[in-house]
């Protein structure tokens, strides 16, 4: 079964990992500090902002795809970059989906850190920046979970990935869009096979991250 396909499963898998990895990284780099700031500061509209963030957990990926599509279509405002139908567009669309997740889960995690710990940190002499970093470290398990959930969302993304990537063989074809194509072709056993690869790869990534957590590297 693995032989009778013109694309390479390995290449498709690597691209899936690359796109999802970059999107998770970007989404975390933006979402985690943002979540820490929102979670640890008091300001007018904080409650509303939190609600909006949590609501965006359910942000339909197709809309993210549409937004990126319209922005980067040649006819669109950012068309001259020529990003549509490249992995970059897919990364951007998926990053949009990851940001609410990493932000929101970080907000929850830092909020959950006991008040007494936050007070202790401050009373021990930490300034603003130091206390945010220390609370983040106390909430680290939750924060890493946020990144892992973000990754899960990316690796499973199909609609937006197809829309802005175009499923171009050898360039923007990832596991999920390949599965969709195989389903359309009626080759259900291939689709299932790719699905198994997808699950396996996702699980391998999670196990690795868990391992790093155990060893306290993360």
């Amino acid at each position: 079964m693995v032989l009778d396909i013109s694309y390479s499963v390995i290449q498709v898998t690597l691209l899936s990992l690359y796109v999802s990895g970059c999107a998770t990284f970007l989404g975390s780099a933006i979402g985690i500090p943002l979540g820490a700031l929102i979670g640890l500061r008091e300001f007018g509209g904080k409650g509303l902002l939190k609600t909006v963030t949590y609501t965006l957990y359910g942000f339909p990926p197709v809309i993210s795809g549409l937004v990126i599509y319209y922005l980067f279509s040649r006819a669109g405002p950012l068309g001259s970059f020529g990003i549509l139908f490249t992995p970059t567009a897919m990364i951007l669309a998926e990053t949009l989906l990851v940001i609410p997740l990493t932000t929101g889960i970080t907000i929850s995690s830092v909020t959950e850190v006991d008040r007494s710990i936050k007070d202790t940190i401050i009373s021990l002499g930490a300034n603003r920046r130091q206390s945010v970093l220390t609370v983040l470290r106390e909430a680290w398990v939750g924060v890493v979970m946020a990144a892992m959930i973000g990754f899960g969302r990316c690796i499973a993304e199909v609609g937006a990935a197809y829309m802005v990537g175009g499923n171009i063989q050898g360039e923007t074809q990832v596991l999920t869009t390949a599965i969709m194509m195989e389903t359309r072709l009626g080759r259900f056993d291939y689709a299932v096979g790719l699905g198994v690869v997808l699950l396996g790869v996702a699980m391998a990534v999670f196990l690795f991250l868990r391992y790093l957590q155990e060893k306290e590297v993360l």
């Binding site: 279509s73 040649r74 006819a75 175009g166 171009i168 359309r184 072709l185 080759r187």
Partner: protein, 322 residues
């Protein structure tokens, strides 16, 4: 966080950046590239994987293929998101060119639409004399509750063809009317061709399909109770064309390479490649670019025809299965 961890993170960040840049460079090719927008059925037939590498090798370039619905392919052409189009929706194509979005619209090949139906053939399509007659029978039996039809009901070339056939039966049957037909017999699937065929299998219904998708489904033994009940009628000819996207509107397009592609695919060489593509034990596409000839082979004579033969005098389509 100790030193080791800091170093590991720094390395990871650098690695990601390097890989991103490298990947970006790969995509913005050093050699020429074209983005070809085509339909899913064209890609699914497997023709492009067979055809394009020949062109890519000869011209040392890359053709990137995005397969979407006909309507979207044309939209992509309008927006400059594609460089070349390969579609099969003549009316829309004509409008596209008329509106100034594309140039050099040229026929390249055709295949057949087929009217697919259940073994029992409740509407007696096998006995029909033409495609229009077949559709009339389906309508009459459908409204009488004896037969069903599943429609693509999307912006695909197949749906466009289906609508034109309904309009040929009765000129008042516009898209608006047709879409309001009773769903007890006329099912609007809004889905891909493969899925629609699967539905016909489930519901013992008729549909209009392209032959390649039908054969593909048959090969995978997914539709054991469906047969081709009619094909070969001139009205069922599915004509493919290549259109170049207007490079005045979209100067970023590699004009030379796009023209090369058109020239090649309509040349003897390119057309021969199309003819030689076989799948499901059949030649799936019949090349018919202007100037291409297969006269000698079709007539079964030993005469070698070397001059250009215009389309009109070519032999007619094979007879309808009785």
């Amino acid at each position: 966080m100790n030193q080791t961890q800091k170093i590991l993170i720094a390395v990871a960040v650098v690695a990601v950046l390097v890989v991103s840049v490298a990947a970006g460079l790969v995509v913005t090719q050093k050699k020429g590239s074209l983005l070809l927008a085509t339909t899913t059925s064209t890609q699914d037939s497997g023709l492009l994987e067979y055809l394009l590498p020949v062109f890519e090798k000869e011209y040392n370039c890359e053709v990137r293929v995005v397969a979407v619905g006909s309507g979207q392919a044309l939209e992509m052409g309008k927006n400059g998101d594609a460089d070349v189009l390969m579609v099969h929706s003549p009316a829309s194509e004509a409008q596209f060119v008329k509106d100034g979005y594309g140039t050099n619209r040229t026929s390249i090949m055709y295949n057949w639409f087929v009217v697919v139906g259940p073994d029992s053939d409740p509407a007696g399509v096998k006995n029909s004399t033409s495609a229009v007659d077949a559709f009339e029978r389906i309508y009459d039996n459908g409204t009488a509750g004896k037969a069903k039809f599943v429609s693509r009901a999307d912006n695909s070339g197949t749906y466009t063809k289906e609508l034109s056939l309904w309009a040929s039966v009765n000129s008042t049957w516009t898209k608006t009317n047709v879409s309001e037909w009773d769903s007890s017999w006329y099912l609007q699937a809004e889905n891909g061709m493969g899925a629609v065929l699967d539905m016909c299998e489930e519901k013992n219904a008729y549909t209009l399909s392209d032959d390649a998708t039908y054969y593909s489904r048959v090969e995978q033994e997914l539709i054991p109770h469906l047969n081709i009940t009619l094909t070969g009628d001139a009205k069922l000819k599915n004509q493919y064309s290549v259109i170049l996207v207007n490079t005045t509107l979209w100067p970023h397009i590699n004009k030379t390479l796009a023209k090369d592609f058109l020239d090649w695919i309509t040349s003897q060489a390119g057309q021969d490649v199309i003819k030689s593509y076989e799948r499901y034990g059949k030649q799936l596409f019949t090349p018919n670019a202007p100037g291409y000839t297969t006269q000698a082979i079709q007539l079964g004579t030993s005469a070698v025809v070397t001059s250009a033969v215009p389309d009109k005098t070519r032999p007619g389509p094979p007879p309808c299965p009785g």
